[in-house]
Symmetry: C2
Subunit: 371 residues, 2 copies
């Protein structure tokens, strides 16, 4: 029997790293950073061919629900789940799992962060089909690992154990353990021993995940079970009032924890996590520097959109949708122009934009972080 495939797009992020373009009402996944389509739009375009439109779910937070539905008009309203508050990825994936399991007890979930970039879409899809096969073969958890291009310190890494098998030309390994954002020297060492970037893309049966949550995270599991009972077979999207109250109450009690810490590390030590060594051109678009790296650049390394001209500027990223932006002799700069705020930054320090937003709040400019 063939298990139905569900895509679960996780779209709860705030994206302060793209201030002043991103605000709390305009998070990263809605930004058109790399094309005329938003990041979540691109993600949905990649997911729908795998799972079909009907089996593509989006999990977001209540305050972003309307914006997400507007952005993805071809996804049915009952396929959007709203968390009452963000509690990292474990509760989010758990919530999606009870919805998926209620629809198809035997279903496989493909979990996709909404705001990533993928270069080679056919290879991406081939990798996910391979992951589905692998997840069904052993009833285990499958992570998508990415062959690193360079020792990025902003990513988590997957340390491989023994080779398992090749699926559709892609090698699968047991996972030894996970390493969170390493220092540069450690990242270099990880790459030397063949470790992979942790893409945050996961594939497993909903029932397997729920079983492992019961074992490793009884608190989350109890909350999800209470929600499942209150739903009583009704869809979690557009919940009735009592169900909404139950979800809110149970969420409040749940720990704020990532699926990596909550389940993958434990399951990995029992040999129940595999990784596919993927190579489809992936990036989590984590900063203006990443956007610059992935954009089409001119001969001087400048990239941008809108109305801008440069006199001997080099390696700059410009966002100029309305006003004319003129660069003179600057290098490695990011210039982001919005109607009420303007960022001029050193591209190599664009990881600090997040701190900058905190600084703005402290200095009484908090209104510029909301739109």
């Amino acid at each position: 029997m063939k298990s139905p495939i569900y895509s679960v797009i996780m779209a709860g992020g705030k994206g302060t790293r793209f201030w002043p373009l991103s605000r709390s009402q305009r998070p990263k996944q809605l930004l058109k950073l790399l094309s005329r389509t938003s990041l979540i739009g691109e993600t949905a375009n990649r997911a729908v061919p795998i799972s079909g439109r009907r089996r593509t779910l989006v999990v977001t937070v209540a305050e972003q629900l309307n914006a997400m539905r507007e952005e993805l008009p071809t996804i049915a309203r009952e396929n959007f789940l709203a968390e009452p508050e963000g509690k990292n990825t474990a509760p989010c994936i758990g919530l999606a799992a009870i919805e998926v399991a209620a629809r198809d007890t035997d279903a496989v979930m493909v979990i996709l962060p909404a705001d990533h970039w993928v270069a080679d879409v056919p290879m991406f899809q081939r990798t996910l089909y391979a992951a589905v096969e692998l997840a069904l073969r052993h009833n285990d958890l499958v992570t998508i690992g990415i062959k690193p291009d360079y020792p990025e310190t902003g990513y988590g890494y997957i340390v491989k154990d023994k080779f398992v098998e090749t699926y559709r030309g892609i090698q699968a390994y047991q996972v030894r353990n996970f390493t969170e954002k390493p220092k540069l020297a450690q990242a270099q060492k990880l790459i030397r021993k063949g470790s992979l970037w942790n893409s945050g893309i996961f594939v497993w049966k909903a029932s397997t995940l729920l079983e492992l949550l019961r074992r490793y995270q009884p608190e989350i599991s109890r909350g999800l079970e209470a929600i499942r009972k209150a739903a009583n077979g009704k869809p979690l999207a557009a919940p009735h009032r009592r169900l909404r109250a139950t979800i809110a109450r149970e969420y409040e009690k749940m720990p704020n924890i990532s699926i990596d810490y909550a389940v993958l590390e434990n399951a990995g030590s029992e040999g129940r996590v595999q990784t596919l060594q993927a190579d489809f051109g992936w990036n989590d678009v984590g900063s203006w520097a990443a956007v610059h790296r992935m954009s089409r650049r001119d001969a001087n390394g400048n990239a941008g959109n809108g109305k801008w001209i440069s006199l001997s500027a080099k390696n700059c990223l410009i966002h100029a949708p309305e006003r004319l932006v003129v660069l003179l002799g600057v290098e490695n700069a990011v210039v982001v122009d919005t109607p009420d705020a303007l960022l001029v930054g050193d591209l190599s320090r664009s990881q600090e934009v997040k701190e900058l937003v905190e600084e703005l709040k402290r200095k009484g400019y908090g209104s510029y972080t909301i739109k």
Copy 2:
């Protein structure tokens, strides 16, 4: 008999070096770069105590006449002369000289560029009184030389000859010759031998200047003479129609030439030019870098006006009258925000803003150079 003193403020510049703040209808002399008063306002405030309000003239070009009158409401309308077109300083000063001579045959002119910065105003005024005495003593041409702070390559230099006398504590020298914008090594050499910056401030009797124009620049002199006859004793400000036509016709024929080339170099070689070695804190505010140098800076060397904040930015100049400008880690940058255009430049290359404006015109953005 005491000669009356006239101030002549030369205000015909376009100031493309301050784009995007300066446009052809908003030239440098109208900008409030260093205080809440425009540069020409500051210049008039320094001049009026010397010459009195009635004897303070402003020479500008026709298209800026209304803006100048608005900016200096306490100067009488008949004290504004409009050139039909800019022809560098020689015709401008010649035109002022025939007006001054018509009012007082014996008058001394103090010629002041409209757009300079002066730190020590009492010392500035004492220097000009000394210059008036010196000019009257020998009926010669007096230039104000400035003790250089550093080997600026954007200025002209005055090479001193023998010491003449001390006036009001300020040393006067014969002038050997003038050197236009030198290369750095030459500027350093000029400073070592005691040469002075040429401030462009001049003092002489109107009649002396007209006599020397007759000798060295017969073309200009003939034009001025035709204008003088057409005026027939009437003020050149608000000229009647026939007079305006005469001025336009004569201006068209005049060469485009600076007073330095037209008169000072020739007169200097005949020993008729002196310089006062002044030290009142002077700068011609020639670029954004000069504005930065003269502004009050914070501990990180940042200066600006409006709404801006910085996270580890250094040595930047920010003009942010309306929107919030946020700097992250950039150094030596100038950021100038206007409603329709934005400049982000390397401060040390701000001399190139002029070329940038030409580039804008070439690339079809000419409308951004006018307001």
